[in-house]
Symmetry: C2
Amino acid sequence: MKAVKTKESPAGRWLSYRPEIKVLDCTIRDGGLMNNHHFSDDVVKAVYTACAESGVDYMELGYKATRKGIVAGEHGCWKYCLEDDLRRIVGDNPTSLKLSVMADAERCDYQEDIAPKSESVIDMIRVACYVHQIPTALDMVKDANDKGYETTVNLMAVSTVPDRDLNEALELLAGCEAQAIYVVDSYGSLYSEQVRYLVKKYLTYCKESGKEVGMHAHNNLQCAFANTIEAIILGANRLDSTMAGLGRGAGNCSTELLLGFLHNPKYDLRPVLRCVQDHIEPMRAKLRWGFDLPYMITGQLNQHPRAAIKYNATEPREDIVKFYDSVNE
Amino acid sequence: MKAVKTKESPAGRWLSYRPEIKVLDCTIRDGGLMNNHHFSDDVVKAVYTACAESGVDYMELGYKATRKGIVAGEHGCWKYCLEDDLRRIVGDNPTSLKLSVMADAERCDYQEDIAPKSESVIDMIRVACYVHQIPTALDMVKDANDKGYETTVNLMAVSTVPDRDLNEALELLAGCEAQAIYVVDSYGSLYSEQVRYLVKKYLTYCKESGKEVGMHAHNNLQCAFANTIEAIILGANRLDSTMAGLGRGAGNCSTELLLGFLHNPKYDLRPVLRCVQDHIEPMRAKLRWGFDLPYMITGQLNQHPRAAIKYNATEPREDIVKFYDSVNE
């Protein structure tokens, strides 16, 4: 991959790397949306070990979420990421791999749910919000920052946000404590030209305030990895990926594709290949994530994948043309 | 998709289209490499009908190949595309869909195997060659052109061709009778920056001689569709795709993704969705094409996928890390 701002021939820039790039593997967090966060400890440990051994920079284990009104057993423990659950897997995390959790705006009692950093193995809180939730997100970032965590903001569903709103949102986010702001293609509907447009815009706001830009892509149009590359080329340094692309619906940019692309010698593909083969792929028959026509169709229409998820959960599947017509109505 | 040479905001160029773009569906031709060209007539007819109804510009049915030394039954009829076999499917082809076949350099007795256009329903002969076969390819193009066909040259495995050779090859090809020259990513190893470099180079040679540039991508790195978009953005007007990406190894840019991206109202996704669901996906369990770790690994290494194809044909599969180490030796 090329360094930013060089304009030499591909041969000249192809073999370099940008040390600022950080890979965050969110297999367990995003994959948790496919199984209500019910992973066996074996799987979580295997992903943790593979991340540590492969040189991945961050691993995201799940969410911090409100426990008000929860139904016992409905969600696995990675919906809440209590300290005891985390430490059962990572102990005191005696590795250079950093750990993160995500907190959705309005779905987390963050004042109580998030302990001070001194009491936690978590290194980073990633606040996810829709554009109308920015004020809440800013409060959450401040809270986590004050508690001693690294923070980021993941502004979701950006493909549906008009520029006039996005500009205002980025202006607000540029002033917050977070270290990075993510372009989040929640619907998997962005093409490379749109990614380039958005990453450039984010960089404009973030560079002034010393923040990094991140990319979180979905694979509805088989562009998750390709779009992540485009973001890298423009200067995005925070990259989300998951092993075998495990994640909601069509899934994510895959960690093995991303590590294979990055030229930093600290990354090693072998532990990830091992983990994918032994622990992730065996879940595919049941969880059935990944590129599929219904997800493609909602992606092409820039729609939330919920209609596709519902369609795929029904056995036998309805006629695909009927589905296509129903979401086009 | 954007028109070439406009530099407006994405919103301004996003909704236009370039009427010169032609989509060639090579489901039966490239897919034939996964089943020795043994398709049932039902499947070939379904693909033909879907191509015609969806506004696809060309359909490629198979190869013209030497029949010397053939073993009866080893290959299906789409390895040879005899006129009787073609007409059994398409009659006199009373549609606006054009038909093409591919002829590999040194694998076809083209003087005899290819009849004059006046005796055939075929519209276009696509000559495929490696860089060292260019002289033969030029002879084949001339022969087909003289016989009355449209012609193209598909220069294979370009990811392994040094620039000094490629420049000379393109200089030679620029002088031939073909209407288009294709960037062919046989190993599925190109990233978008490399696609941009190559398409620009091809355009330089082709524009002067009034030829179009084409793109034929493979999906080893999940970039087949994304790379095809990049080629379009730069000005490539001939685009190969296959339904559900059916094709050798990791498969191709999928026709449904491509039609969903192109904004020309002549294209209709519905007939393709119907065909994929009813005729293509039912073959997947047996033919097992598509993105998979071994294909990713050979793609990342810019190797021919043959080691991955062999690995995938062995049951049970060997350990993936062992495979990774073996191709890295």
